[in-house]
Symmetry: D2
Subunit: 135 residues, 4 copies
């Protein structure tokens, strides 16, 4: 947060009032904080769309009673090597499990990793979401 610069922004009063209500409802402390977050989210979407490097979370829900599904999920992560940074396992009740994998790489490679996991028998649903662009 070191090197801060300041600049001025012009805006219609009505738009600014609606934005101020919105950020109060979201609990932001000030407009700069809220605007920085909007900008970061926009840059992240853009970097990701253009195939940039980033960090993503892959969330899988699976049925642990299906033969070998747990082993296969782990094997695919091991093969991915450095790309997988960490993972977390959560029981959702009975045989349903949720696995969150944090991985780093290009959007295309992470998409391919997610597809392999989602294609496994026993994996019920899943989603990949970009979390951060590489600095």
């Amino acid at each position: 947060m070191s090197d801060l610069v300041r600049f001025g922004v012009a805006m219609e009063r009505a738009l600014l009032e609606r934005f101020d209500e919105r950020i109060a409802r979201k609990g932001y402390e000030n407009r700069s904080e809220a605007l920085r977050d909007l900008i970061r989210a926009d840059l992240l979407r853009d970097a990701w769309d253009r195939g940039g490097e980033g960090v993503a979370t892959i969330t899988l829900v699976y049925d642990a009673s299906v033969r070998e599904v747990t082993e296969r999920i782990h094997a695919i992560q091991r093969e991915a090597g450095d790309r997988v940074i960490s993972s977390m396992h959560t029981h959702l009740g009975k045989e349903r499990c949720l696995e969150v994998i944090v991985a780093r790489g290009s959007s295309a490679r992470l998409r391919a990793l997610a597809d392999r996991l989602l294609g496994l028998r026993g994996v019920l649903s899943g989603e990949m979401v970009a979390a951060a662009a590489e600095p």
Copy 2:
């Protein structure tokens, strides 16, 4: 655009530089313009998520050779009455047609209208997208 106010924003230099590159690439004339658009898009998503009134476009691709599909698409629009503001028909080649419908109402009612259209036999794909919150 009448009643303009100005305010200051603080931001890390590195973030601002990346944002300036992004808005140059998108052809924005200045930062205020780009920030206003980010804010409007955020307010629109929020209004829509909370069930607010708005204007949406429903885009359908359909196979005009399927019996009665064109008639049914028009009948559903007529039944929707005031909610449908305008519509446009475009030929995509051979029997494939694209219909864009601009409609106004709550997100739930527009969702229901879109679902009826998408469920018709002969409608191949479709999407609804929020275009504007009601002022």
Copy 3:
């Protein structure tokens, strides 16, 4: 719709019951129709993500009182030439207008076209949505 094939699908009874409720609510006439639509939507997302050719709608909301915004929106469409198939203009009240543009091309080129339009002064919000992959 000429060349139909049939195949069998196996599914847990509970999942199928929830799907049947869902498609009844959406007004589908039968499961095959609903499954074909899910498959088409999935193929479209995939083609689009991989940079394929397609047809998209670009929806813009703009303030027609801003100097030259209408002219610029039309000029950009003319420059895009063949890529723009059709467009529709709708008044939303007072000075707010909505323009829907149907265009064809690669996702990258259509993204660039949408960005140019969204970057114009007076364009308040907008969205691009893939409507169909090229056959």
Copy 4:
């Protein structure tokens, strides 16, 4: 996976061929598996849009050098009580950290929880994604 039923689906040959290519590329073992996943994803989006109960992951990227941000992220999770099932912390380098939180509840309540976290000073970006509908 106990109680399986079988049913027939009719589809244009060309559509089925493109789907078969797609599922081969994604590594699915068979069509039924791929169709079940498309149906589950559709039911999940629908349940979530209609305010249903579910499990979601909230992913935050934050700057751990910002005063008290770590404490606040943990305090909000504690206040959420039962709703938070598990969380995982990952270092992304220097001061950047990623926190994934798995939580359960209605989409509105989880949205509010995510908004509180995203509004904290020091939280740089974040995203909530629905992972599973409640059975």
